[in-house]
């Protein structure tokens, strides 16, 4: 379908150089460290896959991984539909469109440590609006004491923080749909649900793919916000993978295992994203081959 043209590489070269320059060197360094036991800068012993094996046998790691997967899944389940719904309800033209756009985007612009801080105070029963409101309603709400509450708070904080990303992508995607499609749908007598199903959703496929992948990998790497809010607690209820990695690296001061863990971390995300990406591509084309009933 697309014409083959090897000269297109010239168009891609600047991007390739920019990213390779920034990425390959560090990656090589990390790989280098991950297979060595760095007892001191002068004494390095090649240990092969020893770190990898010990990291993967770590049961605490398994627990953190499980928590992380649950969290990322929950994030996708809530933020994607919510983002789409938000994009559909945001006005398309006029001063209202600009005002809503700015209001929606605000939460994205706050530095992540401040996000954590805001919710820290916001969720406190004594001095925070949310905490006080929940207390008034009769909930014995405590994100520091109750593991479930902490978990839900971290999730709601993430939803608050990042749903606008999904929404903005979908909003831009919706604006890119030519008027003629809506006009044709009116002429064809299509219901609003049909317009959503047959025109809007198919045309949002591209941006939704980006939104899903972005939210998945960013939530999988999440560190600052939950760390500031709950410190990983109570206990390790909200200790997700990134924090676990940092704890291990800082606590043990050992570059070798930390590097190995980093690589494994990266490979897990890579694998899951790759699966996600291919699955979404296949759903897209299968739809085409079989037709929608």
């Amino acid at each position: 379908m697309k014409p083959v043209n090897q000269k297109a590489w010239l168009l891609v070269l600047p991007v390739f150089l920019c990213v390779a320059f920034s990425a390959i060197l560090p990656l090589m360094t990390v790989v280098n460290y991950s297979v060595q036991d760095i007892i001191s800068p002068e004494r390095r012993v090649f240990v092969g896959t020893e770190w990898f094996v010990s990291v993967m046998r770590d049961s605490d790691l398994h627990a953190a991984l499980a928590r992380q997967l649950t969290f990322s899944l929950a994030v996708l389940v809530v933020e994607i539909p919510l983002g789409i719904a938000l994009a559909l309800s945001m006005p398309a033209t006029g001063w209202k469109a600009s005002a809503v756009l700015v209001l929606v985007a605000l939460s994205l612009l706050i530095p992540w440590n401040v996000v954590g801080t805001i919710w820290q105070i916001y969720g406190r029963g004594d001095i925070g609006l949310l905490g006080a409101a929940l207390q008034k309603l009769g909930f014995d709400y405590s994100y520091t004491g109750n593991a479930t509450h902490a978990w839900v708070t971290v999730l709601v904080m993430d939803v608050w923080h990042w749903t606008p990303l999904v929404a903005l992508l979908c909003y831009a995607g919706l604006r890119a749909i030519p008027d003629a499609y809506y006009q044709a749908a009116r002429i064809d007598g299509a219901s609003k649900l049909a317009v959503f199903r047959y025109i809007q959703l198919p045309k949002l496929r591209g941006v939704l793919m980006i939104a899903v992948l972005l939210r998945f990998m960013d939530s999988f790497m999440i560190y600052t916000e939950p760390f500031v809010l709950t410190g990983g607690g109570p206990g390790n209820a909200t200790t997700f993978l990134s924090q676990y990695l940092t704890q291990k690296a800082v606590g043990q001061f050992d570059l070798g295992p930390a590097a190995a863990f980093s690589l494994i971390y990266f490979l897990i995300i890579l694998l899951l994203c790759f699966i996600l990406y291919n699955w979404m591509q296949r759903v897209g084309t299968a739809d085409k081959l079989e037709g929608v009933e």
């Binding site: 360094t29 756009l101 606008p164």
Partner: protein, 289 residues
Amino acid sequence: MNTSVMPTPAANAPRSASRARAGAFPTRAIFLVVYLLFAILPIYWMVMMSFKTNEEILSSFSLWPQHFTWDNYKVIFTDESWYSGYINSLIYVAINTVISISVALPAAYAFSRYSFLGDKHLFFWLLTNRMTPPAVFLLPFFQLYTTLGLMDTHIAVALAHLVFNVPLAVWILEGFMSGIPREIDETAYIDGYSFPRFFFKVFLPLIKAGVGVAAFFCFMFSWVELLLARTLTSVNAKPIVATMTRTVSASGMDWAVLAAAGTLTIVPGAIVIWFVRHYIAKGFAMGRV
């Protein structure tokens, strides 16, 4: 053809499409209002905090500052490192956004319009650069930029941030470009447009929404990035996010000043999105080719 008689004005003013659905239950409006409340309340709380003193924040609960004060903002505006922190951040974020979008546009066009050796792998590889916690890059970047003599410069942070912004920009732009039928390109060539003229006069306006949102995201991710920005700078290019983490002192966390700083960090981003709103919100204007 009789054109001498002016017809009477139509009974109603021209109706817009949306009014045809007037009377339908305004679910969308209600949902939007509810969401906006959800989104704004924590921000409201932070802004309120910025007008309170630390004592008041930690001791009492009120919807409005009991003792309204500008002190926290004074601290920020009089402390030079806060002020320059803003400027520094704006500089490297601007450089980064411009570079990211500039290199991403041709690449996205290539991915969208052509097949070439390794294209699918390259496309996916780009995104993999966002799959590592930035902590992994810290030490190598530190060594790299020290060697290059670029430590504590704006350009260092701008370049470092390319790692995650360029792939994002390419992916977003490619998505929007693929939505434009290739017939537009072909028609333009038949009409005699050269490639640059076609790209800037015909193509870019059609993907305005994609460019707007990509530019905003590049700005946003670079603006809030803390780790790399803090590691690669010390004095001259110290960004606002680094200065803000200095708010923990001997007397504990300076909530009030942090809240004020947080409020102030939103402002540039809000301005950016205000400026790109036309790009994001403008529809697909299919001009006469």
